[in-house]
């Protein structure tokens, strides 16, 4: 049944995109296509109405497509999940993109499936999974011809577990589908690092950042990183050496955080693409929690509210200042 619904949604989307191109409303359309590997969906950029039939709508579209908007100029149609719509809102708020250049197709999202997590829960390799489908509020995975049940918590991406916006916040057309929050109550696993003593925290992050190879994948995929010339490429003066070392890696990661403060919507792309599997989301979540606590600010939900570093109040917290 889930497959049948996906087919309907794909047909709706294909018809819609065809109309958009034939009416000349967009120059490009950003969507997903089936990847070359099972359970992988990759981005698809449609130019001049080619490849529309390749479009896919499924639960493996992990990519946040809004990061392409940095590069693609012109009128763009884009497919967004609930979380991606927050990125879109924060970019609109920053003035990086114009609303009139966009045609937004909303995708109600029941949570994105992470085959790696399912494989870990069933203690097998991701390649062994033959089929994954939903049945009610559970996931069924076929391994070696046998159906095995896993819970949604074991099957969905970490970020989906705390999802508050399964329905896109901004759209021109909304595709059909359920948009109830995947897990209830929505709860992010506690960060067990926060209450620990400073020495332990330092040891943890030192070990993480020593592994960083400075491939900049986290920066390149980030929709919130849009400086035309990045700090790490400055060489007069050179603030951060390109040589990967613990100290410079710390500088890079902390400065990256400071630069995306107020724009980062915890979409989790930086952590997903990290080849060294550094838990970058711990830092982003911490920063976003701080913004909520200090300035009652949440990125990408409000087009009117001032960005945290573009405004101030006289009664802002200053108990840390002597």
């Amino acid at each position: 049944m889930a497959e049948a619904r996906a087919e309907v949604r794909k047909e709706d989307l294909v018809n819609l995109v065809q109309d958009l191109f034939s009416e000349g409303r967009v120059d490009y359309f950003l969507g997903y296509q089936p990847g070359t590997v099972k359970f992988k969906t990759t981005p698809l950029i449609i130019k001049k109405g080619e490849d529309i039939q390749k479009l896919a709508v499924d639960d493996y579209g992990h990519y946040n497509l809004t990061f392409y908007l940095k590069e693609i100029k012109g009128r763009v149609g884009i497919l967004v999940k609930g979380c991606d719509s927050r990125s879109l809102l924060s970019l609109l708020r920053e003035g990086q993109i114009k609303r009139e250049d966009l045609y937004i197709v909303g995708l109600p999202c029941p949570g994105q499936i992470d085959p790696k997590k399912i494989a870990a829960a069933l203690s097998c390799e991701p390649e062994d999974l033959e089929q994954i489908f939903r049945r009610g509020r559970e996931m069924i995975a076929k391994v070696g011809g046998q159906e095995k049940t896993v819970s949604l918590t074991q099957a969905l991406l970490e970020k989906c577990l705390a999802c508050r916006y399964p329905k896109p916040l901004v759209f021109d057309t909304l595709l059909s589908g359920e948009y109830t929050a995947p897990i209830s109550p929505m709860k992010r696993p506690e960060d067990d690092l926060r209450p620990k003593p400073a020495a332990e925290k330092w040891a943890f992050w030192s070990a993480q950042f020593e592994r960083c190879i400075r491939c900049y994948a986290c920066r390149n995929i980030c929709p919130a990183c849009f400086c035309p010339r990045c700090l790490v490429e400055e060489n007069m003066p050179q603030w951060i050496s390109p040589l990967p070392s613990k100290g410079d890696n710390f500088l890079f990661h902390l400065m990256r955080l400071m630069h995306v403060t107020g724009t980062c919507v915890s979409c989790g792309e930086c952590e997903r693409v990290c080849p060294m599997e550094i838990p970058l989301m711990k830092l982003n979540e911490k920063m976003n929690d701080d913004l909520k606590e200090l300035f009652a600010f949440m990125a990408g939900v409000d087009l009117e509210k001032a960005l945290p570093f573009r405004t101030y109040h006289q009664e802002d917290p200053d108990d840390f200042i002597k």
């Binding site: 690092l193 926060r194 400073a198 020495a199 332990e200 925290k201 330092w202 040891a203 943890f204 992050w205 700090l231 603030w239 040589l243 070392s245 613990k246 100290g247 410079d248 710390f250 500088l251 902390l254 400065m255 955080l257 400071m258 403060t261 830092l283 911490k286 920063m287 701080d290 913004l291 200090l294 300035f295 945290p308 570093f309 101030y312 109040h313 006289q314 802002d316 917290p317 200053d318 840390f320 200042i321 002597k322």
Partner: protein
């Protein structure tokens, strides 16, 4: 570079180096007043004058630590007294986020301190500096970003 000393001798020899970013209108003038009124304060601070506390990029603070400063002090005008009306209010927001992030990655908050010192508070400046120096002294040298062997070799070449 490892300085080899006899046990117990190190505390006597090691003196912390504090990088101080002082705002041109209040804290720098305050530091001036400390000197002209002959109040003494520890000579461990290296003062850098900035136009406003709002000019202090979090990068400066991190870079100072990375370059081997044992502590960093950022000081500006009291809220409401900024020469540019709101520079210190904006700075305060940035520093609030930065201070919490530094705490989260395990950098002791005593290494990076913030204060408001006006041009007439020469006494307060001396007190703030003595406080920072004493606290950093208690923490010991900043070995957070000590050069790796490889970096050391590259630097020596």
């Amino acid at each position: 570079m490892e300085i080899k000393t006899e046990p117990g001798k190190r505390e006597k020899e090691w003196e912390p180096r504090i990088m101080a970013f002082l705002c041109r209108w209040c804290s720098y003038a305050g530091a001036d007043l400390t000197g002209s009124s002959r109040t003494s304060y520890p000579p461990n601070v290296r003062i850098l004058r900035v136009p406003c506390s709002g000019r202090v990029n979090p990068l400066f603070i991190l870079k100072a630590l990375r370059s081997g400063a044992d502590g960093v002090l950022v000081s500006g005008c009291h809220p409401g007294d900024c020469h540019y009306t709101a520079g210190n209010y904006n700075a305060r927001r940035k520093f609030a986020v930065l201070a919490r992030l530094l705490e989260y990655v395990g950098i002791d908050p005593r290494r990076v301190q913030f204060s408001w010192v006006s041009a007439s508070e020469g006494e307060k400046f001396a007190k703030v500096v003595s406080g920072v120096v004493a606290e950093v002294k208690a923490l010991g040298p900043n070995e957070l970003f000590r050069l790796t062997n490889y970096e050391q070799t590259v630097k020596e070449q």
